[in-house]
């Protein structure tokens, strides 16, 4: 099922969903004949493994392939597919019925297939497993309380429920489940899927939602509660493929079909466990499975850690430098304008202030309908974030120049432009530089979120690390990000020697 990335925030879903109509209407039909087949996957391990399987199959068929791993939630992937940002991704039939096409009331595989055609999307046959929602609790505790099915929960109103945020909100999630089974529990909270398992283990919650192919079920010794009233729908895994891919890469489309009906629930759970618990790279997990099942030998392209970090650094630096330079070019004139025209200035400061209050993830997601996925929307969001500190500090720096100094410059007979250039900007430079520094440091941190929408950077290993509960991977992103922030600080301390005139630095020491 896994409509959305499990760790994706629910408002992220809401935000994209509101905009999805625009996405559809804005999507350009750009021919991308020579580009590799682009495969997307959602922000959870099973989807990433399926994405790796597809990538390996496409490569084995002779086409080049690019896997945009853990892009985000359902809406991000679906919109990216319809817009042509990606060519295919793994999806679940239940998700199509219940969420993506919920307004069309489509039921059944054949109806789904024909409806998807109108979106220019082809749905494969089921891959073989049904990854449905289930409720689970620690086996020992379930046994002690005599709970086997969801109906049994009615007898224990004191149980604490911890559900993924998405499950809490979806009509076919907790609200529907509670109504169907008349569940009395009051202590119900939303949390991240990966934290839910740890919550069970630490006995801070008793029951959580999970997926029937979850790697953690065996690992944490969890009892799945029987859905005795058949509440949860079927979530068969399928490929969703753009119809036009067949024209561009027929061999790839044919290769994808080789996996139809080949992955059963236990095989999928085993792959999930290898990736998540044994920490085997998904590429390897997929390659091993393809060899065992189809006899296919896949050369996996694994990068060493150093090469990986270097690539992330390059991506991250690109995000930061492009967005920050653009922000500087816009914010500096805006700050000057704000200082020259106080009334307009108040408006400008308020406007950039409002931008700053938009949660970073929301801003990133808002950008998707306009700029698609990847680096451009991330750069745009970071650009908007970087405006306020620079505008505010430029304004403050210029407004803070003592009146006698401003008048002295004017009395000399300098033109307004010359006053700005020779007197006012140099005097405001410490404040402006401090603003740029603030922007840069915020930017370095916020850029890690860019990975959520496929922009890469240090956020990528952090995302993967959170998903796999792999501290090493998290550190692989977090440590360089922190170092970069420190480096930016140092860089600006150095820049002060160049930017801030010596007379002012001397004055400050006094």
């Amino acid at each position: 099922m896994k409509l959305l990335g499990r760790s994706a925030r629910r408002w992220l879903l809401a935000a994209t969903f509101v905009q999805s109509e625009c996405v559809l209407s804005c999507s350009g039909d750009v021919a991308r004949a020579a580009t590799p087949v682009r495969i997307g996957s959602k922000q959870f391990t099973e989807s990433v493994v399926l994405g790796e399987l597809a990538t390996a199959l496409v490569r084995a068929s002779g086409s080049s392939a690019q896997h945009r791993s853990q892009l985000g939630g359902t809406q991000v992937l679906w919109n990216a597919l319809v817009q042509g940002e990606i060519d295919l991704y793994p999806e679940y039939t239940g998700t199509l019925e219940q969420e993506i096409l919920k307004n069309e009331g489509v039921r059944g595989e054949e109806k789904l297939r024909s409806t998807l055609t109108s979106y220019g999307v082809v749905m494969s046959r089921p891959l073989g497993f049904n990854d449905t929602y289930a409720l689970g609790m620690k086996a020992a505790r379930a046994e002690a309380l005599g709970i086997r099915s969801i109906s049994d929960l009615r007898r224990h109103p004191e149980l604490r429920f911890g559900f993924t945020n998405e499950f809490m909100d979806r009509a076919d999630g907790w609200p529907g489940l509670r109504a169907r089974y008349a569940l009395p529990q009051e202590d119900v909270r939303g949390l991240d899927h990966d934290l839910a398992y740890r919550g069970l283990d630490a006995d801070t919650i008793d029951v959580t939602d999970l997926y029937s192919t979850d790697a953690d079920i065996a690992y944490y010794d969890i009892q799945i509660l029987q859905d005795d009233q058949h509440y949860f729908p079927v979530y068969d895994a399928v490929w969703l493929v753009r119809a036009d891919l067949k024209g561009r890469a027929p061999a790839a489309v044919a290769a994808l079909a080789r996996l139809e009906g080949k992955i059963d629930a236990s095989a999928m759970a085993a792959m999930n466990a290898r990736a998540k618990i044994d920490q085997v790279p998904e590429t390897r997990v997929a390659a091993d499975f393809l060899f065992a099942t189809l006899g296919l030998t896949v050369v996996s392209e694994e990068q060493g850690p150093l090469a990986r970090i270097l690539r992330r650094t390059e991506e991250h630096l690109t995000l930061v430098t492009v967005s920050l330079s653009a922000a500087l070019c816009v914010a500096l004139p805006l700050g000057i304008l704000a200082a020259r025209r106080p009334r307009l200035g108040a408006l400008l400061l308020a406007a950039t202030g409002v931008l700053q209050t938009i949660p970073s993830l929301a801003l990133l997601v808002f950008m998707i309908p306009i700029l698609g996925i990847g680096a451009p929307p991330a750069v745009a969001a970071l650009f908007l974030y970087s405006l306020l500190p620079i505008v505010r500090n430029t304004h403050a720096g210029l407004s803070g120049i003592p009146a006698p100094l401003r008048e002295s410059a004017e009395a000399l007979g300098l033109s307004p432009r010359a006053r700005l250039w020779h007197v006012e900007l140099p005097l405001a430079s410490p404040s402006i530089l401090a603003g740029v520094k603030t922007s840069a440091v915020i930017n370095v941190g916020t850029a890690t979120l860019g990975a959520v929408i496929g922009a890469g950077g240090y956020g990528q290993p952090i995302l993967t690390g959170i998903r796999l509960d792999n501290v090493g991977l998290i550190l692989e992103g977090a440590v360089p990000a922190a170092l970069l922030a420190v480096a930016v600080q140092a860089l600006f301390a150095g820049a002060e020697r160049w930017v801030v005139p010596m007379g002012l630095r001397l004055a400050r020491k006094d």
Partner: protein
Amino acid sequence: MLSLRGVSKSFGQTPAVRDVDLDFAPHTTTVLIGASGCGKSTLLRLALGLVTPDRGSVHLDGERLDAESAPALRRRMGYVIQDGGLFPHLDARRNVSLMARYLGWEGERTRQRVQDLARLARFPESALDRFPVQLSGGQRQRVGLMRALLLDPEVLLLDEPLAALDPLVRAELQDALREIFRDLGKTVVLVTHDLAEAAFFGDRIVLLRDGSVEQSGTLRDLVEAPADEYVSRFVRAQRTLHIVGAEAAR
């Protein structure tokens, strides 16, 4: 000749200058004096166009000062404020020569001019490369004067130039300034609140009260023929200080 014609200016509801007519004859030194808030500084800023009058006009040699003519006219006037008003990010030399750079003077011409001015203002040439924060109060004031004189203006406007200085430095600078005024033959308008300083510099003293001219004349006129009770009180107040000082010394 610098002239103010029927000039009035209010800040919000508060009138700062009311209907002032003043002519400043070439080569003379006029001292504007009065209590704080009497409008003497505002008058200087009006003369430079830093403040736009609500009514009336300012003229320099018959040319009316307005937004368009201001930049050119300002280059014919030098302005010195308390503590020099130096730009802290520029060293003394660059403070003085800022306008020369703006007007595209040749390096040698600029260097020569700065050197001449340093000699005139008795400012040590070795200190030209120091920043304002590295200079003494008296030195900053000299640099401010040099900056005002760079373009050899006809008019020199000084707003309490010596107020921030200790008595010894102040006396020294007073001598220097009077000498410079006399040698250069500028039209000088100097604002002070100290009658002794006014008498020291001024060919003419203009006593202001609440934005209007109360009396204009020499010190002798003010002392011997005060226009009204306020003038005699103002003069007496300054004398009283001397008397108190003298008695205390005794």
